[in-house]
């Protein structure tokens, strides 16, 4: 009963080297690693091209971060040329703030309703509708902002108050865009709160409203906060709605807080500048990447914060 074949030529434990399989595995590994190459590519390209902007005579990186006017389409040697990114950043934050004002109440309201109040039948109709809304291409929502929301705002507040291109219309529609994101992630977080917590509260005589708002909502807070932050990140990177409805005029007076003014977000600038098909090496071409690099850093930081919050404050049941 010796288990070890000491002298036999056929071994059940020894492995044949399968070079073909190793090659295939290497190819599979390479395919998985494409995502890492993508990230490295994005970071490398954005910063390399952005750096080229500041090598052009007359363009300074200090001005980029400190100046309060954005007029990049003139010759860098002229007096009119100003390349401070604040007007674009201000516009982006204004639109994002309007979007969150719309999306947070609607998204969280929907999440609480779907998780705590709705009958299974209502849930089965509303959730797919939210998914469809999330799947509508943003260019269609841009059309909706310009041809439906803007005339609506103009008829309510008056055409002398609301110009055709304005931050409010774009901001509201960006808000509608991120409602499904906020609603579905928060709903998941609330549904994950254990039944025992709800039943304990009901047993103590709490009403449904108390259970929803004072027991389930706080228990799911980490998920809800990260949902809002993810929505925030999506709103900052939104491109088509803002370039169609918010206009292409960087605000002159900072801080620009009036929702009924024409603005130009970072993403809208990228689209506008790309449309001219300026050659590589020109101020316009390189400035697209400088603005893109800033946008990337901001969204990346937001996503990291969201992940941290989920990890740090997650309640273990």
């Amino acid at each position: 009963m010796s288990a070890e074949p000491t002298s036999g030529r056929i071994s059940l434990t020894a492995r044949r080297k399968r070079y073909g399989e190793r090659t295939v595995l290497a190819v599979l590994w390479l395919c998985a690693a494409v995502s890492v190459f993508t990230t490295v590519g994005i970071v490398g390209v954005l910063f390399f091209e952005a750096f080229q902007l500041f090598r052009i005579p007359g363009v300074s990186i200090v001005e980029f971060f400190t100046d309060s006017a954005w007029r990049p389409f003139t010759d860098p040697s002229s007096d009119l040329f100003r390349i401070g990114v604040w007007p674009l950043l201000n516009s982006t934050l204004l639109i994002t703030a309007i979007a969150l004002l719309v999306a947070v109440p609607l998204g969280l309201g929907s999440a609480v309703y779907l998780s705590e109040y709705a009958s299974p039948r209502v849930r089965k109709t509303v959730k797919p509708a939210l998914e469809v809304l999330a799947g509508v291409p943003t260019v269609v929502l841009g059309f909706f902002a310009l041809t439906f929301m803007t005339p609506l705002l103009r008829s309510v507040f008056g055409t002398d108050v609301v110009p055709i291109f304005n931050a409010a219309s774009a901001g509201i529609v960006v808000g509608i865009l991120i409602v499904p994101t906020i609603a579905s992630i928060s709903e998941d977080a609330m549904s994950a709160v254990p039944r025992a917590l709800r039943e304990g509260a009901y047993g103590l005589g709490a009403s449904r409203r108390h259970v929803a708002l004072r027991v389930v909502f706080p228990a799911a807070l980490s998920g809800i906060v990260s949902a809002v932050i993810l929505g925030f990140g999506r709103a900052i990177g939104e491109t088509l709605i803002v370039s169609l409805a918010a206009g292409n005029l960087p605000p002159g007076d900072l801080p620009a807080l009036n929702p009924f003014q024409q603005v130009q977000t970072m993403t809208a600038y990228i689209v506008q500048a790309v449309g001219g098909e300026s050659p590589r090496g020109s101020v316009t071409f390189q400035s697209i990447f400088a603005v893109g690099a800033l946008l990337f850093v901001v969204t990346f930081a937001i996503n990291i914060v969201a992940q941290r919050i989920v990890r740090r404050f997650r309640e273990e049941y």
Binding site: L28, C31, T38, V139, S207
Partner: protein, 301 residues
Amino acid sequence: MATTTQERRVTPVHDLRSSRRRAVTEQMTRAVLLIATALSVIVLATLLIDILRDGAGRLSLDFLTSYVSRFPEETGIRAGLTGTLSLMALVALMTFPIGVAGAMYLEEFAPDNRFTRLLEANINNLAGVPSVIYGLLGLSVFVYILGFGRSLLSGALTLTLLVLPVIIVAAREALRSVPREIRDGGLALGATPLQVAARQTLPAAMPGILTGMILSLSRAIGETAPILVAGAIAFRRADNEPWYPLEAYTAIPIHIFDFVKRPQQEFQIEVASAAIIVLLALLLLMNSGAIVLRNRYSRNR
């Protein structure tokens, strides 16, 4: 003072006694939440009705087969339609093998080490990168550094990088749902892990993978920002049939963007709506295909 805090603490009991007031606040909360939920659905319905009403009259076979024109009554979206279909084919051709292979590696073979965790975190982070950033990557790398120019290939490669993380996540889920016993059975019969993965696990997961694939593709063809930045033609007349990867191209979303930006009312409203109907119909077709596939699959299991 002491009594007031005492009273405040027993509010729930107080509520229990005056059950009528409690019922009113309950109903009001429910109503407010219901309105918040209904608003999104109402907006979606308004959007669809608005588009159908404005665009349906402009739809015809001619609209699909003629090129863009200065005159709203003659214009069509032929270049965009062929462009979108070619983009879809190219993106599918590139994402399918890479996505499936990447998912298979991560799900079946990846050792549990630092690099694997980095890969997974990376795939999750890529989902949060705005799509316009992918356009910048494509503009620099594909259009200029690799010299593909403002061509269909540059656009397709850009969209491929954009949807690849989504496809990998979907394919991994499909692979994960294949029962352990199928793998164990294969291994017990002496097959190598790679043989099991290729001949047992992958075929069993294929319907799920295809469903995820179609859904990701439908996301890709609705995207405007990446291809707009990576060189799709928006403002010029695109006359050529973009069947060849190195030629200039346009796509339906780019047409919509262009129409909405034109000053004439007919373009901005009617023609744009008609183009949107075509795009949404295409998306609907793909999504129902995915649902049919998923249903058939779950019935067979």
